[in-house]
């Protein structure tokens, strides 16, 4: 009976464990299956959230949650990027929903989108390319690349130090990809590995000790989605800051309360 508890304490997980090989490679069918499930859940949520827009009093819990999510993302974007951050809200919200649902799927399935390194690397590449695209669109090609050369140094120092700063900035762009993808992959797949290890620890006494990690895993779901979105907003703010702006409160009002 111990083998029922060996893999995450559920028969579904055990069936999933037996269908793909132990070397850790994932089937494309599994990946597409979980992506399809993710899209169905997200589409269903959006349908039910939209259908509540016609009522006078929003009583459905799904619309309340969607509004909370929108307010959270809007506050984050406008607070981090500034008042011109409103056009980045759809992108950031899309990534938040995809990452959150992918993490939630990883709670009760041994294979999930965000537990797969390729999916996370793809998302990080999309985000970093989108940030470069927005920078080029806002500053022009030369202006965007002159951001990489750092501060303007005087005299002979500029000849030696500016190429070094340029190379370090390029390396840090590559590191953004690595850190974004590995953070998410390590947290979610590491959660799986930790649950496996604790189940193996408790298998002599037939106790699925891995289930005790579930609260931490739920917290990690939310936190990692938020971290990804906040870092996207921070990278966008670094690239599209527009010189001098007057201090505007994030909801669009000046501090004295007028528009």
């Amino acid at each position: 009976m111990g083998q029922f508890f060996l893999s995450s304490g559920s028969l579904l997980a055990q069936a999933g464990e037996e269908t793909f090989d132990k070397s850790g490679s994932y089937n494309l069918i599994h990946l597409f299956g979980t992506l399809a499930l993710l899209l169905v859940i997200a589409f269903g949520l959006m349908l039910s959230a939209k259908s509540g827009l016609g009522e006078r009093v929003f009583k459905k819990p799904v619309t309340c949650c969607s509004e909370q999510l929108y307010l959270f993302i809007e506050n984050m974007c406008l607070g981090t990027i500034g008042p011109h951050g409103k056009k980045y809200i759809p992108m950031v919200m899309t990534f938040w929903i995809v990452i959150f649902l992918g993490n939630v799927l990883a709670l009760f399935m041994p294979f999930a989108p965000t537990a797969n390194l390729s999916f996370n690397v793809a998302m990080a590449l999309i985000i970093v390319s989108y940030v470069q695209y927005e920078g080029i669109r806002a500053n022009g090609l030369a202006g965007h690349f002159s951001h990489f050369s750092g501060p303007k140094l005087a005299g002979v120092m500029a000849f030696f130090i500016t190429p070094m700063i340029f190379i370090i900035e390029l390396i840090s762009e590559v590191m953004k990809n690595v850190s974004l993808s590995l953070r998410l992959y390590g947290n979610i797949h590491g959660g799986h590995a930790a649950v496996e290890a604790m189940n193996k620890l408790g298998s002599p006494i037939f106790l699925p000790l891995g289930e005790f990690l579930l609260p931490v895993k739920i917290l990690t779901c939310l936190v990692q989605a938020m971290i990804f979105s906040i870092l996207t907003c921070v990278y966008l703010s670094l690239v599209t800051h527009h010189g001098e702006e007057e201090a505007v409160h994030p909801t669009g009002l000046t501090p004295s309360g007028q528009h």
Binding site: S179, L182, R183, Y185, G186
Partner: protein, 67 residues
């Protein structure tokens, strides 16, 4: 040797997270009305420190020996 390396990385991560928690809790104790902002900032700092540990667990063995 890899186990010792990952253990030392875990030690550093634990000490770092302890410092983050200490600072956050002290700030929350001084100003209870800023608890929301401090919690957000603490979680952001937590992600960065966790990243160093996850790099040492997933990237270093790959670079050091395995394929």
């Amino acid at each position: 040797m890899l186990g010792i390396g990952i253990g030392i990385a875990g030690l550093g991560c634990g000490i770092g997270l302890g410092f983050i928690g200490n600072g956050a809790l002290q700030g929350m104790a001084r100003q209870p009305e800023a608890i929301g902002k401090l919690q957000t900032a603490m979680l952001i700092a937590l992600a960065f420190v966790e990243l160093v540990f996850l790099l040492s667990v997933f990237v270093v063995p790959f670079l050091a020996g395995g394929k």
